[in-house]
């Protein structure tokens, strides 16, 4: 070795060897293209075929968008402007956006109410979706359902207040008795809430003012994408807790609870949603006393919630089954009671495993809200198929309308799916 090497360990390098650049054929765009697009004869043929198809798709759709007509009174107006050229008649969107979003008969001076409710929705669900946000925001989340309800339906504010009061009283009774027994607390809470609502009914009738603070809007006036959003948000948020309860009930050691849950789940899963919707629309009317005014939206919400809760319960059951029994035993041996070990140990892990399945059900449910169009509710699809396409002005504008509907649904569903992937990465702590 060289004499001037001061390193006492003669065979050790003092400086790392410089890195050599890889040969040009192994790097850069040219390399990527050769590797991925033209690596074999078959691959080359497929690549060329794909390029040709893309070319045809582009050349036929781009003019349709570029020439699109955005200002016109009717489809005939569009045709006149286009003079035979290819082009979309997007004027239907600018003319009828209000119906697409809010429905057929919703008064336009009240649009701000559902819009505000929609904006506040983000504030309300943010602390649920992102744990990093301050926990105090959850108080607003608790308040939000009442607020949104009042904004959208309006009417006497005392009815809303009495509803909220029922929840508060129910919770107080529950927390008073839960220490002695969970069942007692739960039953007491539910009874107290119903008593409050029943009493509240008299009071509201007595003091309801002639001109309410916000004008009352009946459910049959709701429609458009707003109706899909209402059904989607309410049903997803109700069916998640119900699904958890059903999944746990199905595992219960008490045979009665287990049988009720199994029968419910299997029955609902064995019936098409559309049948349940018809039941909600028609048959429920026969069973209810003739003069009951049981809101159609409420009936549909109950049916869709039951339907998706059954599916979510099965997804969560899979998550529960995936947990080793050692997790239950560790909780038991540390002295945690059933509710504690479920809430702190079992459910956090089972729900984490179930996220993809739950999101799948939620996205499916949101899209299935369009099925209400078959029981003549004017949701986004019902609106397009009914009042808009049936009108003389816009008869025949299929592509533009259904594409707009697809875009609206896609934005929401893609957002949900991206959130769930982010959440899964964030919760990955098991390092397996």
């Amino acid at each position: 070795m060289a004499d001037n090497n001061t390193n006492p360990i003669a065979y050790m390098r003092e400086t790392p060897l410089p890195q050599l650049d890889p040969p040009a054929s192994e790097a850069g765009l040219g390399h990527w293209v050769r590797q991925n697009l033209f690596s074999s004869v078959l691959n080359t043929v497929l690549t060329l075929a794909a390029f040709v198809s893309l070319y045809f798709i582009f050349t036929s759709t781009v003019p349709w968008f570029v020439n699109g007509v955005w200002q016109s009174e009717s489809i005939r107006g569009c045709r006149e402007v286009l003079e035979g050229a290819t082009g979309g008649c997007f004027a239907v969107l600018t003319e009828r956006w209000n119906q697409l979003l809010f429905g057929f008969t919703y008064s336009d001076d009240q649009y701000w109410r559902p819009t505000l409710a929609f904006a506040l929705l983000f504030v309300a669900i943010a602390p649920v979706l992102f744990v990093a946000l301050p926990r105090k925001m959850l108080y607003f989340t608790l308040l939000y359902p009442l607020l949104a309800f009042y904004l959208i339906w309006g009417g006497s504010i005392y009815a809303t207040i009495s509803t909220g009061l029922g929840f508060v009283v129910g919770y107080l009774v529950y927390s008073r008795f839960v220490a002695s027994s969970f069942a007692l607390g739960l039953i007491g809470g539910v009874v107290a809430a119903f008593v409050t609502w029943w009493l509240g009914g008299f009071v509201v009738d007595a003091i309801a003012p002639a001109t309410p603070f916000l004008e009352e809007i009946p459910s049959r006036k709701m429609g458009g994408f707003m109706l899909n959003m209402i059904l989607g948000v309410v049903c997803v948020s109700l069916s998640l807790p119900l699904g958890i309860a059903l999944a746990l009930g199905r595992q219960s050691r008490l045979p009665i609870i287990r049988i009720i849950c199994v029968v419910f789940i299997e029955f609902v899963r064995g019936v098409p949603l559309i049948t349940l919707l018809f039941v909600a629309n028609v048959i429920l009317g026969y069973f209810l006393p003739p003069d009951t005014n049981f809101d159609l939206i409420l009936r549909v919400i109950i049916m869709i919630t039951m339907f998706s809760a059954a599916y979510i319960a099965e997804v969560i059951r899979g998550g529960l089954a995936a947990l080793p029994t050692g997790q239950y035993e560790a909780g038991d041996s540390l002295g945690l009671d059933y509710a504690q070990s479920m809430r702190l140990i079992i459910l956090p892990q089972a729900l984490k495993i179930s996220i993809p399945g739950i999101v799948n059900v939620a996205v499916g449910l949101f899209k299935d809200t369009t099925l209400v169009s078959v029981i003549s509710m004017f949701d986004l699809v019902g609106m397009i198929r009914g009042p808009i396409l049936a009108s003389t002005e816009w008869n025949g504008v299929y592509w533009e309308l259904f594409m707009a509907a697809a875009v609206l649904f896609f934005v929401v569903c893609y957002g949900i799916s991206q959130y769930s992937q982010w959440l899964e990465r964030k919760l990955a702590t098991d390092h397996r």
Partner: protein, 255 residues
């Protein structure tokens, strides 16, 4: 093991099992078990696989239900009364073969969960206790990691610390080293020896005969759901009485 440590055994009865029987369906897994453990005693339970060792110690903290006979822990009779079960589980810590740490919580959260929710200890105090026991099992630097990031030996030491955080008076160990790679067994046994030297009442299912010789007051041999033989370690190993014990020892000690 020193005589001093053995002297810590008191007359106080920690666990008393009388005529206990257990069935899994129609399978009679434990037969007429009689066992009394004094406070501060360290008992090693051994026996062939399937002889009911796990079931026996799991009956003590009601992870399994026994059908006949009585189990009394620190004066509390184990019945189907949930209050008694809760009380006993607070007194009795358990360490499992597969650690059973909570993978979604950090080490510190694993240790503070039960003190906070069961004992209603304030969070800061629970964390202090947790760090104290993590130092005892010599891994305080891992407090903020997740169980999946630790080696098996480290996970088992965390599991021991997690039980200790509940300040139990009795510790049950179900084959705590059998899921570990050989080089990690010693660190776990050292932790258990340190615990024994402090006078903890321990019931240990294990085949580590070196551990039994070093710390046990008594070794119990089980076969087919019965306690076949029990004796002080020296007597047990040098002078086994029953032929089944002799056969078992010859297999396990590799003679």
């Amino acid at each position: 093991m020193t005589e001093a440590a053995k002297m810590q055994v008191s007359d106080e009865i920690a666990i008393s099992i009388q005529g206990m029987n257990k069935w899994f369906g129609s399978f009679h897994v434990l037969r007429d078990i009689n066992l009394t453990v004094n406070s501060g005693e360290r008992i090693v339970v051994c026996g062939p696989s399937g002889s009911g060792k796990s079931t026996l110690i799991r009956c003590i903290n009601a992870l399994e239900e026994h059908q006949k006979g009585s189990i009394e822990v620190d004066g509390t009779v184990l019945s189907s009364d949930l209050k008694n079960i809760d009380k006993i589980r607070r007194e009795v810590g358990m360490v499992f073969q597969h650690f059973n740490l909570f993978p979604h919580l950090t080490i510190l959260e694993n240790l503070t969960l039960a003190p906070i929710w069961v004992r209603k200890t304030p969070k800061s105090e629970a964390e202090e206790t947790a760090m104290h026991f993590l130092e005892k099992v010599k891994i305080p630097e891992q407090a903020d990691k997740y169980p999946g990031q630790l080696s098996g030996g480290q996970q088992q030491r965390v599991a021991i610390a997690r039980s200790l955080c509940m300040r139990p008076r009795i510790m049950l160990f179900d084959e705590p080293t059998s899921a570990l790679d050989p080089e990690m067994i010693k660190e776990v046994l050292d932790t258990m020896i340190a615990l024994a030297e402090e006078g903890m009442t321990m019931l240990v299912v294990t085949h580590e005969m070196g551990f039994a010789r070093q710390v046990a007051n008594r070794v119990i041999f089980m076969d087919e759901g019965q306690i076949v033989e029990q004796n002080e370690p020296e007597e047990f190993f040098n002078n086994p009485q029953s032929p089944r014990t002799k056969l078992f020892l010859s297999q396990i000690l590799g003679h």
